[in-house]
Amino acid sequence: MTRFLRQVAVLVYALFGLTLLSTSALADSPFPTINEPADENVKCIHPEDEMRRNHMNYILHERDETMHEGIRNEPESLANCIDCHVKPDDKGEIASIESKQHFCSGCHQYASVQIDCFQCHADRPQKYINRDKQTSSLRHNLQQTLANKTGVDQ
């Protein structure tokens, strides 16, 4: 009987310990919150719970319709997600997809789900990307190539 009681006591302690552990783990990585749309006049197109579960289905479907059929009016496009939800922080800095502060990365890093969209797609609204430097370097290269242009025989 004493042995049984001891076993029960050990079990209770173990459970208590586990609860403590999981609580502290949660405190370390808080459940990510969703950024409200940048523009206060814009309403979310779907409830948050729906989007948390099904956003990938919405954008995958649109992906093929847009790419192959040129349908571009759908509200659930990746571009619209980014345009509304990715916004600068209080200091005016905008996070890239690498950062946990990015609208998509916050959840994806928390859930440990790799996200490939932004290997090709823009991860920030265009208004926050300064491109002047990059294109001017390309123009410089091109002009150099043209300066050394080689004639092709017709």
Binding site: G70, I71, R72, H121, Q134, T135, L138, V152, Q154
Partner: protein, 257 residues
């Protein structure tokens, strides 16, 4: 059967009324606008962007090489800007959607300058050889790469007789919203498909007009009243490598035999 016939009759009379009303409105309000619209027939897409593209249109470009200025790169610059093509200082592998080519006739020394890009073939060799279906020609004649399913094998690059395609060798960041591009996929001129779908014209054509060279025309090859079709009918237009019978969407004027 009767129902559907009736329905279409109703629809068509409504459409007639609307179009007459629109024409009447245009004439009354601004005759100049109507004239302008007639001249622009078939020059941009009027498809509502919630409807799929169809083979009613075939988008194409016509390049008059006699107007293309030697040394001018405004079309190339505009393309790079539009598509966010960023060089890494390695011309052998940096992406080019459009390049300026100078042809020199050895006998006379006459030089012809022209822009060369994806020729948007009807029977595109790139689409023929693609093992995944990533290379395809859209119903309205624009040849594209679906980078979601491109595996980067580069067969299309070997198949293309115009060397129009590039492979992205290095990771890309800060892409343009309308021009997704990334490492490990093949890419080429998209005829600025997002612009076209939204009723615009390609960036290169716009830039050429802005320079007042007007060497490039964009328009619907299927519309006999479009500027491009009229010019092709009057002056003709050559395909590059016509021996391949690819029925290209990009045609050239002013090339010698």
């Amino acid at each position: 059967m009767t129902d559907s016939t009736n329905k279409s009759a109703v629809d068509s009379s409504r459409r007639d009324f609307l179009s007459k009303a629109a024409v009447a409105g245009t004439i009354t309000i601004a005759p100049g606008v109507l004239l302008h619209q007639t001249a622009q027939a078939g020059s941009v897409s009027t498809r509502p962007n919630d409807e799929p593209v169809s083979n009613k249109n075939r988008w194409g470009m016509l390049i008059d090489t006699s107007k293309c200025a030697n040394g001018c790169t405004s079309c190339v610059d505009a393309c790079n800007e539009e598509n966010g093509l960023v060089g890494n200082g390695r011309p052998e592998t940096d992406s080019q959607y459009i390049r300026k080519v100078t042809l020199k006739d050895k006998a006379t020394g006459h030089e012809t300058s022209l822009p060369l890009m994806c020729q948007h073939c009807e029977t595109a060799p790139c689409a023929d050889v693609c093992p995944t279906g990533a290379s395809f020609v859209r119903a309205d004649g624009i040849a594209l790469v679906d980078k979601h399913i491109c595996i980067g094998c580069r067969y299309c690059m070997m198949a293309c007789p115009y060397k129009a395609r590039s492979f992205v060798h290095e990771a890309v960041e800060n892409q343009k919203l309308t021009a997704p591009r990334g490492k490990g996929t093949v890419e080429s001129c998209t005829m600025c498909v997002t612009r076209v779908d939204n009723g615009g014209i390609p960036a290169c054509v716009e830039a050429c007009s802005a320079e007042n060279h007007n060497a490039m025309i964009f328009g619907d090859l299927n519309d006999p009243n479009s500027e491009i079709s009229i010019s092709l009918k009057e002056r003709g237009g050559k395909q590059l490598r016509p021996d391949l019978a690819l029925n290209t969407g990009v045609r050239y004027q002013g090339l010698n035999e």
